[in-house]
């Protein structure tokens, strides 16, 4: 794939060209030249877009596509198209399909469906067989097929001894163990954050305590076992504090937060809108503030869309019966830029790859071209027209966002969303 990209502002603090508007010549998927007014002697296609900015390809460490088994929610092919259109050149896919991805051949199925796609797929295997939280899945065998981490998506490991064993066992081969931060005993039948809004709605609350107990437990376990722990999608101020303290103790822990937990507090639930039913639940404004601070100071390693397409039948029901989750790839950049500067937003979207076993590719001559192309100044109201996903359960519907992706250039392919 050869292309001459004209007048692109490079946003990459790892590149000597950071903040410069230059032409980039890509030949056979590699960056061959970067400079001003580059010539095009071989008459390659020229790419010129309004207010074009380019960064390293973005990474999302938690997306769900449904396939195999739940293709009515989303297929891998359309999910990857959604990722590419939304600017993500690397995604880690959760194991929450039907059946759950918990064997070597399951991992192979995922990678084969994504073979030769512009978006690089990092498959996550289940930590326990069928994600039932009883017996460990064949973690090493899945690693040999390409699994980058182990996670029973949004299902806590209730047995502390099992978590201890998982951390010990996976440390044999440097495996990354993920633990959903929720104590189900404390969470009970809760369906939203326990606070004033849940009280006024009569909905059962999930106390912040439910998350914090589990985070504290897992950090205690990690201190005992050693190994690598990732805590996906924390949502409370105290969780940020617990992780901060653990990092100060040099424990090998990372964590992420969902973008919607940075953007909304639980007061938006006041009319029982199921689009806002997510797990972990939207918390209070002081939690939101602490999470944003945690992202800024690096306590929170990654920000994820926690993209989870769901059928309308799973959302257009009574609140108690609605399934947790929202799509988020399409709105991720636009939402982040309402909270952070352009430079910070891009930095957030490109960090954390190494934790999931893949490398950064700075924008330098000689490197493989792995770009996201975007217009950071596009202001718009996010509507269903902006959705590429098969499912339309978008928490950001109706929100004013800033910044749109044009697409990606990766794996020697250019995928553009120019509608």
């Amino acid at each position: 794939m050869n292309v001459l990209i004209k007048s692109a502002t490079i946003i990459d603090t790892k590149s000597e060209f950071h903040n410069q508007t230059l032409d980039i010549l890509v030949e056979a998927g590699r960056i061959s030249k970067i400079g001003t007014a580059l010539e095009n002697p071989n008459h390659y296609n020229i790419l010129e877009l309004e207010n074009l900015h380019i960064s390293q390809g973005w990474f999302d460490c938690s997306v769900s596509f449904g396939e195999p088994g739940l293709e009515e929610r989303e297929t891998i092919v359309n999910g990857l198209k959604t990722a590419a259109y939304s600017g993500f050149s690397t995604v880690a896919i959760n194991a929450n399909s039907h059946p759950v991805i918990d064997t070597n051949s399951d991992i192979t199925f995922i990678t084969s469906r994504a073979l030769n796609h512009a978006v690089k797929v990092l498959p996550i295997g289940a930590l326990t067989k069928e994600s039932k939280g009883v017996d460990l899945a064949e973690l090493y065998d899945m690693k040999t097929a390409g699994a980058v981490a182990y996670y029973d998506y949004q299902k806590p490991i209730t047995n502390a001894n099992l978590m201890k064993i998982a951390l010990q066992y996976a440390s044999n081969f440097n495996g990354l163990v993920c633990s959903f931060p929720q104590d189900n005993g404390i969470a009970g039948k809760g369906v939203m954050n326990e606070h004033i809004t849940s009280t006024t709605l009569g909905l059962k609350g999930i106390p912040a305590l439910a998350e914090e107990l589990q985070v504290a437990r897992d950090l205690f376990l990690l201190e005992y076992t050693g190994g690598k722990l990732h805590i996906p999608t924390i949502s409370t101020a105290k969780s940020v504090e617990l992780v901060r303290e653990a990092k100060a103790k040099k424990l090998d822990v990372s964590c992420s937060v969902a973008i919607h937990n940075l953007f909304f507090d639980d007061s938006v639930l006041n009319d029982f809108n199921t689009h806002y039913k997510v797990l972990p639940p939207l918390r209070t404004q002081s939690d939101v503030d602490a999470l944003v601070a945690g992202v800024k100071d690096g306590t929170i390693d990654m920000v994820t869309s926690d993209h989870n397409p769901l059928n309308i039948e799973e959302k257009k029901v009574e609140f108690d019966y609605a399934t947790y989750g929202t799509i988020g790839l399409e709105s991720a950049f636009g939402a982040l830029q309402t909270l952070f500067s352009l430079k910070k937003s891009v930095e957030i979207l490109t960090r954390g790859k190494q934790r999931f076993g893949t490398e950064n590719t700075p924008i330098q001559v000689g490197n493989a071209a792995n770009f996201t192309l975007f217009n950071p100044d596009a202001k718009y109201t996010f509507t269903t027209q902006d959705i590429v996903s098969k499912s339309k359960n978008a928490i950001f519907e109706g929100e004013s966002l800033k910044g749109k992706s044009y697409g990606i250039l990766n794996n020697n392919q250019l995928v553009l969303n120019l509608k």
Partner: protein, 309 residues
Amino acid sequence: MSELSVNHLLGIKYLNKEDIQLIFETADHFKEVINRPIKKVPSLRDITIANLFFENSTRTKLSFELAEKRLSADVINFSASQSSVKKGETLIDTVNNILSMKVDMVVMRHPNPGAGVFLSKHVNASIVNAGDGAHEHPTQALLDSYSIRERLGEVKGKNVVIVGDILHSRVALSNIYALQLQGAKVMVCGPKTLIPKYIDKLGVKVETDLRKALEWCDVANMLRVQNERMDISYFPSTREYTQQFGVDKALLDSLNKEITIMHPGPINRGVEITSDVADSKQAIILDQVQNGVAIRMAVIYLLASKIKQ
């Protein structure tokens, strides 16, 4: 003519003070009607109302049905046990099927909080919430306030304590909103396990000592412990609950004033109140039941008049 500010009665929190005043004045009129030899008016001869009860109810269902019939509305009844809900039909489909038979108003009892709000966004009918999970039970709160007004002259300035299982109660939340809207002070009293952690943020006092609560109040609204909603024991035994939160005559008589006792029913005699309290002249429990019909007539009448427009 005055009218309600809302097209549905989904909860007290969606009403204003004037709405409550209007409902009470209308109920005054209907209370007079239901004490006549002919207890019926032809006001809603052209209105069809569906009572949809997705959860068991005896008194609320009877009260609504009687209110509707005394307004001469056509009434159809539906309960979950005989319904297609068990065959997997969604709530919206169930209700739209009924509405396609030209029903104007839906009175709904449902186990899930927000079910009425949800329905009001997706179907074309006036919705009356007859209790949705632990969210609201607006007509109960209206009839409670109406009964306080009847007994004590006005609600404003009165101290009202709600005793018992606040956590699982829709009656408590609706009462808190209704009483505060009318200028009463509200306290909740019960074991801490049955009081929502953040309820003080609604501006209510929280007390765990029943005697102190009764000494403070003018009215005590005694709630039933809703064992059917509990997934775990919130207290060790009914006996122990009664020791701390049951009201008996000796306790009432030891107070330095005569307080009014209310109960939304059904009463567990000997648990939250003893028989001699339930049957005493301080209790207005049966007045509440009678007022329930007048209040529900008023609500249905006022909402129906908005449909007719």
